[in-house]
């Protein structure tokens, strides 16, 4: 049976008495949906989210194709064969959208129970699509079947869309709570796109169809606007692809989006009046879009290429960094082994030199006395250096052991002052000790390491102080639960920008060469690492070059 008030179409879809908006709303949306869906799918066919996006786009394309067919054709049997497709494709779009959003947000498949629910929801739509519950007849005058649609079937598949909108909102909100700033932007783009699409597509179609059914609206053209929501959704998908590399689409995404834009503009030919002005304007718009598109593609490609190059460089850098760490570890192991090998003969040299000086092998000739003293001094310096290397090796390998115990820091600082006083006096320096404690001064730390730190700091002050004094001052801060040992010297001091770097390996103050000092440049590094490991810290202050320095060891008080 043919509708008798309308002419049959030419070439399946082309009829003269249809609204101009029809082709513009249908063809670009259909082409764009198929294009983006297929493009994303082909880029990674094994990805579940890409397959689901294709399913949504494909279902939408079938709906649009059916709609275009229904608008332009006049054969009742063909139109009624197409009619149930609207319900089935709308239901598939709704359920697939929930599935798609779940996979997109969680990057994993939905659980088994959710699949069962989806199938249960879809089954009635499929089973009853061809029955009178869906559609029972056809109006040859109006050339549609709205008057013969079953109300409950329509209510059921339309409500699936509203269920989808609600379900998706819950999924988006749940993911939003745990998302970082960048992913929140993706959620906004994706959420806005799919919710706008679903709401506009389903609501407009169902409301217009319902108004048609009850006779309040005779013109079905209003539903044509609903299809533009798919274009918006696809544009937002495009933004996700380009900006956030969603769907694992690479550098060709910009090209693809530009082609889509050109299709949109070119589609104006399908509905524009064939006046020369309109055709010229459309052609000019198309040309300008093509030029702008080409520039955009070039720009985006360059940006993506640079981004990829940076990523490759970062990968290489990470590899090199790993290799460097391995080499550093090997170096530390080598230094450790070498230092251990050196320590034994050095101990012998120091021991025998000391015995020679003590007269254990008889009185030394006056000429030999000076030489043996040099041997003893040099071997001591060398032993100290070897100890520093070994400490650095242990720290870097994480093998430094700390045996914590409670002891009085004031007492230990006083002992160090007593130990080092003689040496300071040799350098013409006055070493004094002073304390001002409100508490008992007990700390929980490694006694040996703490003494070593204090020795290092005092040695450092002696080395870099040519004249004046060194003061050791112990004080506590009960509120801050800290005890501090200040080693205040009148030495060469340093610039403000050097204060932190002196704790780095092999670092010295810029003006260190003004005094003739020897050493490895590791003492402060080792001291600070040890203090940090024991829950404390070492800080340095200086009023500037020539103004002396204050090194402060801080340790937590045992309350």
């Amino acid at each position: 049976m043919n509708c008798y008030l309308y002419d049959p179409p030419q070439y399946l879809f082309f009829a003269s008495d249809l609204p101009e908006l029809l082709y513009y709303s249908h063809i670009p949306a259909l082409v764009l949906a198929l294009f983006v869906g297929t493009f994303v799918f082909l880029n990674n066919p094994k990805s579940l989210q890409n397959r689901l996006l294709l399913l949504i786009c494909f279902s939408f394309a079938i709906w649009v194709f059916g709609s275009l067919f229904a608008w332009t054709n006049t054969n009742s049997s063909l139109l009624l064969t197409i009619w149930p497709v609207f319900a089935v494709s709308a239901a598939l779009i709704s359920i697939s959208s929930i599935y798609f959003i779940y996979v997109y947000l969680n990057q994993k498949n939905i659980p088994h129970w959710m699949k069962v629910i989806f199938l249960l929801l879809l089954t009635p739509v499929f089973i009853f699509a061809h029955t009178n519950l869906n559609v029972s007849g056809f109006d040859l005058t109006l050339c549609d079947a709205f008057a013969y649609e079953g109300l409950w079937y329509k209510v059921y598949y339309t409500s699936l869309s509203y269920v989808a909108i609600l379900w998706i909102s819950v999924l988006l909100l749940n993911r939003w709570r745990t998302a970082d700033a960048s992913y929140k932007k993706q959620i906004i783009f994706m959420g806005t796109g799919i919710q706008l699409f679903l709401f506009s597509f389903i609501s407009t179609t169902s409301i217009v169809a319902y108004l048609n059914t009850i006779g309040l609206l005779q013109d079905s053209r209003a539903e044509l606007f609903s299809l533009f929501s798919m274009t918006i959704f696809m544009v937002l998908i495009g933004i996700l692809i380009v900006r956030f590399k969603a769907f694992n689409v690479g550098a060709h995404a910009a090209d693809a989006l530009m082609v889509a834009l050109l299709i949109l503009v070119a589609s104006q030919y399908t509905y524009a009046n064939s006046t020369s002005t309109t055709l010229i304007l459309t052609t000019v718009t198309l040309a300008l879009t093509a030029i702008a598109g080409a520039l955009l593609i070039r720009s985006v490609r360059r940006e993506i290429k640079q981004k990829e190059e940076i990523e490759q460089l970062a990968k290489k850098l990470a590899g090199a960094n790993k290799r460097l760490r391995e080499l550093d570890k090997m170096k530390s192991e080598f230094v450790s082994i070498a230092s251990h090998q050196l320590r034994s003969p050095l101990t012998s040299i120091r021991g025998y030199a000391s015995m020679l000086l003590d007269g254990s092998f008889g009185k030394l000739p006056a000429k030999a006395q000076g030489a043996v003293e040099r041997i003893a001094d040099s071997s001591s310096t060398m032993a100290s250096s070897v100890e520093d290397y070994l400490n650095v090796s242990r720290i870097e390998a994480g093998n430094m052991k700390y045996e914590l115990s409670d002891f009085n820091l004031k007492t230990e600082a006083s002992r160090v002052a007593d130990d080092k006083r003689q040496e300071a006096m040799k350098h013409g320096l006055l070493l004094t000790f002073k304390s001002k404690l409100e508490g008992h001064g007990i700390v929980n730390a490694d006694l040996g390491k703490t003494r070593q730190i204090l020795h290092n700091l005092v040695n450092n002050s002696i080395k870099y102080t040519q004249k004046g004094s060194i003061k050791i001052f112990v004080h506590d801060d009960l509120k801050g639960k800290q005890i501090h040992v200040d080693i205040i010297d009148t030495g060469i001091g340093m610039e403000a920008d050097e204060l932190e770097s002196v704790f780095e390996k092999f670092q010295r103050a810029k003006n260190a060469n003004t005094v003739n000092v020897t050493g490895t440049g590791l003492g402060l590094f080792v001291a600070q690492k040890m203090a940090t490991e024991m829950g404390g810290s070492i800080h340095v202050t200086s009023a500037g070059p020539g103004e002396g320095s204050t090194f402060t060891l801080s340790l937590p008080l045992q309350m």
């Binding site: 049997s77 559609v135 005058t141």
Partner: protein, 118 residues
């Protein structure tokens, strides 16, 4: 094979339902033509309660009609694809499935009906 079915049961069930739906729809509407068709028929407003259609708000040239509803398969057998050239299409004589529907203001709305007799 069983593993493949277990893994893809969701897609397989959807595809199976889609295939059944397509086959059933084509069979009903194209092969059996098991549906109703409605079309307008002449109506005399002097003797019948007709639907009325106006071209404009003034309604100075109203068109009066009734609606005939009958089974598509039967109609197609009688008239082919075009009902406008088939007088038999407009006559429901001896056909229990054929209905000639006239306007009823209580169900169709007052504005839809010719109010000459009302």
């Amino acid at each position: 094979m069983l593993n493949y079915v277990k893994l893809h049961y969701y897609a397989l069930i959807i595809c199976a339902m889609a295939l059944l739906f397509v086959c059933a729809t084509i069979y009903r509407f194209n092969i059996q033509q098991n549906y109703l068709v409605a079309f307008e028929s002449d109506c005399d407003p002097e003797t019948q309660s007709c639907f009325v259609y106006c071209e404009n708000d003034d309604c100075n040239d109203p068109f009066f009609y009734s609606v005939i509803e009958r089974e598509a398969a039967q109609l197609h057998e009688m008239c082919g694809a075009d009902v406008t050239v088939c007088d038999a299409a407009y006559s429901c004589n001896n056909d229990t499935t054929c209905k000639n529907l006239f306007c009823d203001p209580s169900t169709d709305g007052v504005g839809q009906c010719d109010d000459i007799n009302n």
